[in-house]
C-alpha cells in the first residue's frame, strides 16, 4: 500500500508487510491482540509490554495516521506516556500552551489561562501532530521483544469463541485466521470489530461540521488557543487556530448549515477561505496546505466496553466532541486503566471479573468527559436553535459583562476523579487530602540516594504495579513491607519530613509537598494503583490494611 500523502513536515515511513506464520499454517494462539496502531492502540501495547505481557498489533495501513488529527496532548496523557517512557520526545517537540483568547468579530470576549503548577512535571497541554505522538510511542514499543506490529493487516471480522476470540485478517498475501486469548479493539470511530460483534453506540450526533486544515505558515504568533466567532474571516460561523511544531498551524473552521461539505472540501475553496481568514486577522506571507479533513461532533458510547474476549477502547468504545481535546486523551486514559487489569488476568493473579471495573471506571470517565465536552459544543457548534440563541446572546453580553465569560471557557481535558469506583477503599480518613479515586499528583520530591538528596517527580518512583507511600513514624520505626501481597507486586516508598533524621527514607519531604498532597500522618499510608489512581489512604497504614485492599483486587468478584 503506497503512501499517497506528501507531508510538508513529516516523513511517513512505509512499514513492510511481513508474512505472519498463520499464512503458512504455522500460527499459534496469541495472548493479547490489539487492533489499531493509532495512539490508543500503541499505548495499549506499550502499557501491556511494560507489564510483561506479549502483544500483537494489527494495523490495516502501512504507515502512521496522516495529518495532525488529535493535535492536543493533555497533561494526564503526558504523565501516562512518561511513565511508559514515551513522553520526553513528545514534550521536547511539542508546543506547550496555557493561554487562550476568544473574539466576537474583532472584540475580545474571553482571555483565559489554564492553571500552571510550579511543582508538577508537565504543562496542561502540548500541541503536537498525532503522527509524531504515534511515532514516539511506536519507537519505544519497537525496543521490546514482547511486541509485534503487523502492518497492512486489515481485520475483517471477529468472533467470540468461549475462552478465545477468532480474528479474520486480510493481507496483501491473502487472508488468514488468528486466535487470541484477548483482543483490544482500538480500531477507531468506524470500528470493524464493533460492527462485527453487532454492537451499536448510543448517544447524540450533532449537525455542526468543521473543516480541519493543517497549514504551513511562518508567523510569530505565540502558542495558545484562539477562537473567532462571527469574524470577517468566517462570517456567521467559528474559527479555531492552534500552533503546532514545524510552522504548522491547525485551522478548524465551522461550515454554515447551508454549505455543502463536498464543495467546501475542494482545494480551491479551502485555499480561498483560509486566505480570507488570514487576511482578516492580519497574518501575511506565503502559506501552503498540508492536510484537510471534515469533522462532525458526536457524543456516543457503547454501554459496556467488555464483550466476551473483546475489550473496546478509545474511539472504538466512545466518541466525544473534538472541543477540549478529550478523544485521544480519553483513549490513552482508557488503555492505561485497562492494561494492568488485563495483565493481572493474563498472569492469573486476578480473576477476569476485575475487567468489569474497566467498563465501570471508563464509562464513568466518558460521562464526565461528555459533560464538559457538551458544554463546549454548545458554544462551538450550538446543536439547537435555543443553544444558538443563548450562545449569541452570551457572546454579545461578554463584550462588556464579565460574568458571562466563563460560559465561553473551552474546558480543556483534565484528569478524571473516579469518585464512585467500586475499586476504591474507603480507608479511615476524611481530612480533605487526596481521596481514593483521584490521580496521584506528579509533584516534585526530594529523593534520598546514598544519603544525598536529588529532585525527582513522584510518578518516576512509582512501580508498574501497586505502590504504597508510607509516612515514617515519629519514633523512626518503619515496618517491613513485603514485595508482593496475594500475588500482586507492591513497591514501598518511605517518606520522612524535613525535620526527621535524614537519609533513612526514600523521599525527604523537604518542602512538605507530599504531606500537603496526601495529608499523611505519622505511620499513615497511601496505596497507589499501577495507573496512578489512589486506591486507598489510611491514618494507620499497616501492612494488614493494605493486604486486605490488595486481596480484594486479587479476588475481585
Amino acid at each position: 500500500m503506497a503512501i499517497d500523502h506528501q507531508s510538508l513536515y513529516f516523513s511517513y515511513e512505509e512499514f513492510p508487510f511481513v508474512a505472519p506464520p498463520e499464512l503458512s499454517g504455522k500460527g499459534s494462539r496469541h495472548g493479547v491482540t490489539i487492533v489499531g496502531a493509532g495512539p490508543v492502540g500503541l499505548t495499549a501495547a506499550l502499557a501491556l509490554v511494560r507489564q510483561g505481557v506479549s502483544v500483537t498489533v494489527l494495523e490495516d495501513e502501512a504507515t502512521l495516521n496522516i495529518g495532525s488529527r488529535a493535535a492536543g496532548t493533555a497533561r494526564r496523557s503526558l504523565e501516562i506516556l512518561d511513565s511508559l517512557g514515551a513522553a520526553e520526545r513528545l514534550v521536547d517537540k511539542g508546543v506547550a500552551w496555557t493561554k487562550g483568547q476568544s473574539y466576537y468579530g474583532d472584540k475580545l470576549v474571553l482571555d483565559f489561562s489554564m492553571p500552571v503548577l510550579d511543582n508538577v512535571k508537565h504543562p496542561p497541554m502540548v500541541n503536537l501532530q498525532q503522527c509524531y505522538v504515534e511515532q514516539y510511542i511506536l519507537d519505544e514499543l519497537s525496543k521490546s521483544p514482547l511486541a509485534t506490529v503487523r502492518w497492512s493487516s486489515a481485520v475483517k471480522a471477529v468472533e467470540n469463541c468461549g475462552d478465545r476470540v477468532k480474528v479474520q485478517v486480510a493481507t496483501p498475501d491473502g487472508d488468514y485466521e488468528l486466535e487470541s486469548d484477548w483482543l483490544i479493539a482500538c480500531d477507531g470511530a468506524r470500528s470493524v470489530i464493533r460492527s462485527s460483534l453487532g454492537l451499536r453506540m448510543e448517544g447524540t450526533s450533532y449537525e455542526g461540521r468543521y473543516i480541519v486544515a493543517d497549514v504551513r505558515l511562518a508567523t510569530d504568533l505565540p502558542p495558545g488557543r484562539r477562537v473567532w466567532f462571527d469574524s470577517a474571516g468566517n462570517p456567521d460561523s467559528t474559527i479555531i487556530l492552534h500552533r503546532q511544531p514545524d510552522n504548522i498551524w491547525r485551522i478548524d473552521y465551522q461550515l454554515r448549515d447551508d454549505e455543502d461539505s463536498d464543495r467546501e472540501l475542494e482545494p480551491e475553496r479551502v485555499r480561498s477561505r483560509i486566505q480570507t481568514f488570514l487576511d482578516s486577522v492580519g497574518i501575511g506571507g506565503p502559506w501552503e496546505i498540508d492536510w484537510v479533513s471534515l469533522y462532525r461532533a458526536h457524543s456516543l458510547s457503547l454501554k459496556n466496553y467488555w464483550h466476551g474476549r473483546v475489550l473496546f477502547a478509545g474511539d472504538a468504545a466512545h466518541l466525544v466532541p473534538i472541543f477540549g481535546a478529550r478523544g485521544m486523551n480519553g483513549g490513552i486514559d482508557d488503555v492505561f486503566n485497562l492494561a494492568w487489569k488485563l495483565a493481572y488476568v493474563v498472569r492469573g493473579v486476578a480473576p477476569p471479573a476485575l475487567l468489569n471495573t474497566y467498563t465501570e471506571e471508563r464509562y464513568f470517565a466518558f460521562q464526565e468527559n461528555i459533560r464538559n465536552a457538551n458544554k463546549s459544543t454548545k458554544v462551538m457548534a450550538p446543536p439547537t436553535r435555543g443553544d444558538l440563541l443563548m450562545r449569541d446572546a452570551v457572546l454579545e453580553l461578554a463584550v462588556e459583562h464579565e460574568f458571562v465569560r466563563p460560559l465561553l471557557n473551552p474546558r480543556q481535558s483534565a484528569e478524571i476523579f473516579l469518585r464512585d469506583s467500586s475499586l476504591r477503599e474507603p480507608g479511615d480518613t476524611t481530612d480533605g487530602g487526596l481521596a481514593p479515586g483521584q490521580v496521584c499528583p506528579n509533584i516534585k520530591v526530594s529523593v534520598m540516594t546514598d544519603g544525598t538528596a536529588e529532585t525527582r517527580y513522584l510518578h518516576e518512583l512509582l512501580g508498574p504495579e501497586f505502590t504504597v507511600l508510607v509516612q515514617r513514624k515519629a519514633d523512626g520505626m518503619m515496618p517491613e513491607w513485603p514485595a508482593t501481597m496475594h500475588g500482586l507486586g507492591l513497591k514501598t516508598i518511605y517518606v520522612e519530613r524535613a525535620g526527621d533524621t535524614p537519609g533513612l527514607c526514600h523521599i525527604r519531604d523537604v518542602d512538605g509537598a507530599v504531606a500537603q498532597a496526601f495529608q499523611l500522618m505519622d505511620g499513615g499510608a497511601v496505596l497507589i494503583r499501577p495507573d496512578h489512581h489512589v486506591l486507598g489512604r489510611w491514618r494507620e497504614g499497616t501492612p494488614d490494611v493494605v493486604s486486605a485492599a490488595l486481596r480484594r483486587v486479587a479476588t475481585w468478584q
Binding site: Y104, G105, D230, P235, T384, G386, L397
Partner: protein
C-alpha cells in the same frame, strides 16, 4: 452589572433550561423571552436597575459584516 450573582453551575443550568424552552417554543420564543423579561423585572422590583438592564441588552455588539 458585571459581577456575577449566579454561580457558573447556575449559569450553565440557566443556559440549558432556556435553550430547551426556546427550542420548544419555536415561533413563540420571542413571546416567551419577553414574558420572562417582564417577570424578572417584577422580581427585581427596582425600575432603575431594570432600565439599566434593558439598555445593556439593547446594545448591538454584532460584528460589522464584510463580504467574503
Amino acid at each position: 452589572m458585571s459581577a456575577s450573582a449566579l454561580s457558573l453551575d447556575e449559569l450553565e443550568a440557566l443556559w440549558a433550561l432556556l435553550a430547551e424552552r426556546i427550542t420548544q417554543a419555536e415561533t413563540q420564543s420571542e413571546v416567551l423571552l419577553t414574558k420572562l423579561a417582564v417577570l424578572l423585572a417584577n422580581e427585581v422590583g427596582d425600575y432603575q436597575r431594570v432600565l439599566d438592564c434593558v439598555n445593556a441588552a439593547s446594545k448591538d455588539q454584532r460584528p460589522v459584516k464584510r463580504s467574503v
